[in-house]
Amino acid sequence: MNAHQSQCVWTRAVTGLVPALAVLLWTFAAVALTPEEIATYNGPDRQKVLEEGAKKEGRVAIYSGMIVDQALRPMAEAFEKKYPFLKVDYWRGASPQIIQKALAEARAGKVQVDVLESTSLAPGLVRGGVVQKFHSPESDSYPKHLVDPNSMWASTRLSYFGAAINTEMVKKEEAPKTWDDLLNPKWKGKIAWRVGGGDTGAELFVTNLRLLWGDEKAEAYIKKLAGQDVVGYTSSARQLVNQVMAGEYAIALNIFLHHPLISAQKGAPVAPNPMEPIPSLNGTVLMAKSAPHPYAAMLLIDFMLSKDGQETFLAGDYFPANPALEPSKELKAIVPSVIGMKEQFISPDEVNDMNKQSSEWIKKYFR
C-alpha cells in the first residue's frame, strides 16, 4: 500500500468516526440530562426527547387530591391512551397526607412519587425542599398569577368560595349580600362554618377579609361576627352543605360554591350565595425532586395542563385553570367573571402565611 492510499484510509476512518462520535456524544448527552434539565428543557425537539426518555421509564406515579372515579382515573386513562407505553400509578389522598408521604420519602431517600397535585399543597412541598423547578409550554397561555414565578408550580384547577343558604329558611330577599348582612340578629345561631380542617373554611373566610380590608378593620368585623354564635363544624365542606340542605343551619360560610349549585340542580332546598369579593384558590401540580421517572413526569404534567387533559376532569366538577377551556355549563353560574362579581385570588403562599393568624382569631373569638 502506498502513502496516498493509507492517507485515504485514515481520512475515511476519521470522516467515518466523527459522525459516529457525534451521534454517540449526542446520545450520551441526552441520557445524561439532569432531572432539572429535563424539567426545564426548551428545545424544539422537546416532545421527542421527552417521549424517548419516557419510553425507557415505562411508568409514572402521581399523588393527587382529585376524586378517583370522576377525575383522576379518567385523566390517567386518557393519558395512557395518548402514550400507550406509559402506565400511571395513581394514589389519592388529602393534602396533608400527600405532604407527609412526599417529605417522608424524600428524607428516607426512597422517593417513589413523580408528580403531586392538589389544593393547599405548594407551600408545604416547596418549603420542605422536595420539589423542583419545571416548565411546561402548556402553561405559557395561563394568566400570570396562575403560574409560579419561581417555576415550582402551575395551576391545574380553581375553586371559588362563598356562602350557601337553605332556601326554605332564607328567602331570596333576605339572602345576605354584604358582609354586614351577616351581622343581622335574625341569623344568630343559624350560621356555621368549618374549623380545624385546614385552611379553606373559617380560616380562609378571615384571610379573605384581611386581604380586603387590612387587619384592623377585619378584626373589628370578626369580633362582631362572633356575637352571632357561629357554629364551628369539623368535616368536609361538602358535608356542611349537606347539613344546610337538611335544615340544621340556615347559612354556611366559605364553602365551595359549586356544591350547593349542583345540589340545587338536583332539586335540593339550597342555593349558592356568592358575596364580593369571591375568594378563589388554585389546585397546583408540582414535580418531585429526584423523581424516579422525570421524562414521564413532564409528559404527565404537560397533559394535565393541556386542554385535552383538563377536559377529562371536568366531569369531577372541577374548574379548569386552562384559559382555553370553559367551565362546564352547569357550573358557570358561580364563576365570578360570568356573573359579574369581583374575584379575589389568594395565592398559595398568601393562604399559608396568613393562616396562623386567622386561625388564632377564630380560636380567640369563637370558642
Binding site: 388529602a94 407527609q100 424524600a106 380545624g196 368536609s236 332546598p269
Partner: protein
C-alpha cells in the same frame, strides 16, 4: 429423664421470644412518639430543636381544666353506657333462655360492619335539629317545647357509648358464656333473687372482663378525635383532643408534637391502670369458672320474665342497630339528603348503589381489604392468646408482655400511621406501600383489644386443668395447644371477628400506609365522606355491612364446626 437445676432464674424462652417480637414492633413507633413530642418539626418534616413547648402548651392551656372535666365526664359516661348495654345484652344472650337471643350476635356483627363515620353520622341525622326525633317532639309539644340537642356532652356520651357497645357485648359474652351455671344456681337456691344473683355472682365473676373493657373505653374516649369533633364541637363542647386536633392541622407540614405529648401522658395513665388491673386479677383463682368439676354451662330459666327481657332486647336493638341502619338505608336511596320527609320517598333511586358498585376503585380494593382483615385477625388472636396465657399464669416476665401489648392503645391512629410510615420507609427492603405493611401496622394497633379478650378468656380456666395435663406427662407447649387453646377458643373466635371487622374499617393508618397497589375499602369510604357524598357513602356502607356479615357468619360457622364445643 431430664434433670435441670432447681430454681431456674432464667426466663421461659417463650416469654423471651414474644418480648423480642413485641419490642421490635412497639419500640420504633414509641421512639417516634417521644421524639415528636419533644422536637420541633422542620419544613422538610425532619425533627428540629429540642423543646418542651408541647407539654407546656398542654398544661398551659387556659382551658385545660374545663377540657379535662369534660373529657372525664365524657370518658366515664360513655364507658358506663357501653358497659351497661354490653353487660345487659351479654347476660340476656348467654345466661338466660330469652327467646330470639341468638340474633343478637348476628346483629352486633352487622353493626360493627358499618363504617364508623357513617354510624356516627346516622345518629346525628337521627337526633339532629332537623332530624326525625326532633320532628316528632315538635309534633307532640309544638315548636316551643323541649328539643333534643345532640351536639352536647350527653350527645357525645350517647354516641360514643353506643358505638362501643358491640365491643362490650362481644367481650362480655365470651366471659359469660364460660360461667358455670352452678355458681348462679347456688345463689338462687340460697334465696337470693335474680337481681341479687346477677349483682353478687354474675357481675363479680365477670369483673376482670368488665374492668378490661373499662380500660379500653376510657383510653379510647380520652384519645378520640372524631366524635368530639363531629358531635362536641358544633355544640361548643371541648375536650382535650379538640385543641390537639387543631394543632395538627394549623401547620404545614402537620405537627404532631402536642398529640405526641398528650399520648405520653396517656401512656403513664395506662401503665398505672394496668398495674391496678393486674393486682385485681392476681387472685386469679377467684375468677376461674371453667373448672373440671361438673362444668356445664346451663342457662337460667327466667320463666315469664323472659318476655320482659325479650322486650328489652328489642329496645336495645332498635337503638343500637335498628335506627342507625334504618337511617342509613333510607339515605342510601336518596339523591341527596335533606332530612327525613315523606316527600323524599318519591325521589328514591338506586343510583347510589349503581355508582358504588360501578366504581372500580371500590371493587378493586375489596380483595385487598378482606385479605388484610383476615390476616390481621389471624395474627392478633393466637398471638395475644399466648401472651395472655403466660401473663395470667404469672410466668416470670410475662406481665411485661401484657403492658407492651396494651401500649398501642395510647397512640392516636394518625400518629401511629405517621410513625409506621417513617419506620417502613427506612427498612432496607421494599416494604413501604405494600399490603403487608398495612397488615403489620393494623396488627400492632389491635393488639390491645386482642389482649383483653384473651386475658379474660384465660382467666376463666382453672389452673388445675393445666396441672392435670402436666402431670399426665405433657410439656408446656402440648398443654397450651391441647388444653388451653381449645378452652380459650370461644374468646379467641369473638376476638377474631371483632378485629376483622374493625381493622377493615380503620381509615387513619390506611390513608398513609396504603400505596397505589394496596388500596383498601376504608380509604374509599373515607373519600366519599370527605367529599360529602353522604348518600353514596350510605349505599357503600350498606353493601359493605352486608359483605362483612356474610364473611363473619361464614367464619363463625367454620369455627363452630371445628372447635367451639364448649358452647
Amino acid at each position: 429423664m431430664a434433670v435441670r437445676s432447681a430454681r431456674p432464674l432464667r426466663l421461659s424462652p417463650a416469654v423471651v421470644v414474644l418480648s423480642v417480637v413485641l419490642l421490635a414492633l412497639i419500640i420504633p413507633p414509641t421512639i417516634f412518639l417521644v421524639q415528636t413530642s419533644v422536637h420541633e418539626t422542620n419544613a422538610d418534616g425532619s425533627f428540629g430543636a429540642f423543646t418542651l413547648r408541647y407539654f407546656g402548651e398542654l398544661f398551659g392551656n387556659p382551658r385545660l381544666f374545663g377540657n379535662l372535666v369534660n373529657n372525664v365526664i365524657y370518658a366515664f359516661g360513655s364507658a358506663a353506657v357501653a358497659i351497661a348495654i354490653g353487660t345487659a345484652l351479654a347476660w340476656i344472650v348467654e345466661r338466660t333462655n330469652t327467646p330470639m337471643r341468638r340474633y343478637v350476635f348476628l346483629l352486633s356483627i352487622i353493626s360493627l360492619g358499618i363504617p364508623s363515620v357513617l354510624y356516627t353520622v346516622s345518629f346525628l341525622l337521627l337526633l339532629g335539629k332537623a332530624g326525625p326525633v326532633n320532628d316528632l317532639l315538635r309534633l307532640a309539644f309544638g315548636s316551643g317545647g323541649p328539643l333534643v340537642n345532640v351536639y352536647s356532652l350527653w350527645g357525645m356520651i350517647v354516641v360514643e357509648g353506643i358505638d362501643f357497645s358491640p365491643l362490650a357485648f362481644l367481650l362480655l359474652s365470651s366471659v359469660f358464656r364460660a360461667n358455670d351455671a352452678s355458681f348462679e344456681e347456688a345463689s338462687l337456691m340460697s334465696g337470693a333473687g335474680l337481681w341479687k344473683t346477677f349483682k353478687n355472682i354474675t357481675l363479680r365473676l365477670a369483673m376482670p372482663g368488665i374492668l378490661a373493657l373499662l380500660i379500653l373505653v376510657l383510653i379510647r374516649a380520652f384519645e378520640s378525635f372524631e366524635i368530639p369533633a363531629l358531635v362536641g364541637r358544633p355544640g361548643r363542647v371541648y375536650v382535650l383532643t379538640t385543641d390537639i386536633y387543631d394543632s395538627i392541622h394549623t401547620q404545614v407540614p402537620p405537627n404532631y408534637g402536642e398529640a405526641g405529648a398528650f399520648s405520653i401522658i396517656l401512656l403513664v395513665i395506662v401503665v398505672i391502670m394496668l398495674v391496678f388491673y393486674n393486682r385485681l386479677s392476681r387472685r386469679a383463682e377467684r375468677f376461674q369458672t371453667i373448672t373440671g368439676k361438673g362444668f356445664r354451662p346451663r342457662v337460667m330459666d327466667l320463666g315469664k320474665w323472659r318476655y320482659a327481657t325479650a322486650a328489652t332486647l328489642g329496645v336495645l336493638f332498635a337503638i343500637i342497630i335498628g335506627l342507625p341502619i334504618a337511617i342509613v338505608l333510607y339515605a342510601s336511596f336518596l339523591p341527596y339528603y335533606d332530612g327525613v320527609r315523606l316527600a323524599s320517598f318519591s325521589t328514591m333511586t338506586l343510583a347510589n348503589y349503581a355508582h358504588v358498585w360501578g366504581s372500580s376503585s371500590f371493587r378493586d380494593s375489596i380483595g385487598n381489604t378482606i385479605i388484610m382483615g383476615l390476616v390481621t385477625a389471624s395474627l392478633v388472636g393466637p398471638f395475644t392468646a399466648l401472651c395472655a396465657w403466660l401473663a395470667v399464669r404469672r410466668v416470670r416476665g410475662a406481665a411485661f408482655l401484657d403492658q407492651l401489648a396494651t401500649m398501642p392503645l395510647i397512640f392516636p391512629a394518625i400518629v401511629m400511621g405517621v410513625a409506621f410510615l417513617h419506620l417502613f420507609l427506612h427498612l432496607p427492603f421494599p416494604f413501604y406501600g405494600t399490603l403487608a405493611s398495612l397488615i403489620l401496622a393494623s396488627s400492632v394497633r389491635f393488639l390491645p383489644y386482642g389482649m383483653r379478650y384473651s386475658y379474660a378468656g384465660v382467666l376463666q380456666i382453672h389452673k388445675e386443668l393445666e396441672e392435670a395435663s402436666a402431670l399426665s406427662g405433657a410439656r408446656q407447649t402440648t398443654t397450651f395447644l391441647r388444653v388451653v387453646l381449645p378452652l380459650v377458643a370461644p374468646a379467641i373466635v369473638t376476638c377474631w371477628l371483632f378485629v376483622f371487622l374493625v381493622s377493615v374499617k380503620a381509615v387513619a393508618m390506611a390513608i398513609l400506609l396504603a400505596g397505589p397497589g394496596s388500596q383498601v375499602v376504608a380509604v374509599t369510604l373515607f373519600d366519599l365522606w370527605d367529599n360529602g357524598q353522604v348518600t353514596e357513602l350510605a349505599a357503600m356502607g350498606v353493601i359493605w355491612a352486608g359483605m362483612m356479615t356474610v364473611v363473619s357468619v361464614a367464619f363463625y360457622m367454620l369455627a363452630r364446626r371445628y372447635g367451639l364445643r364448649v358452647h
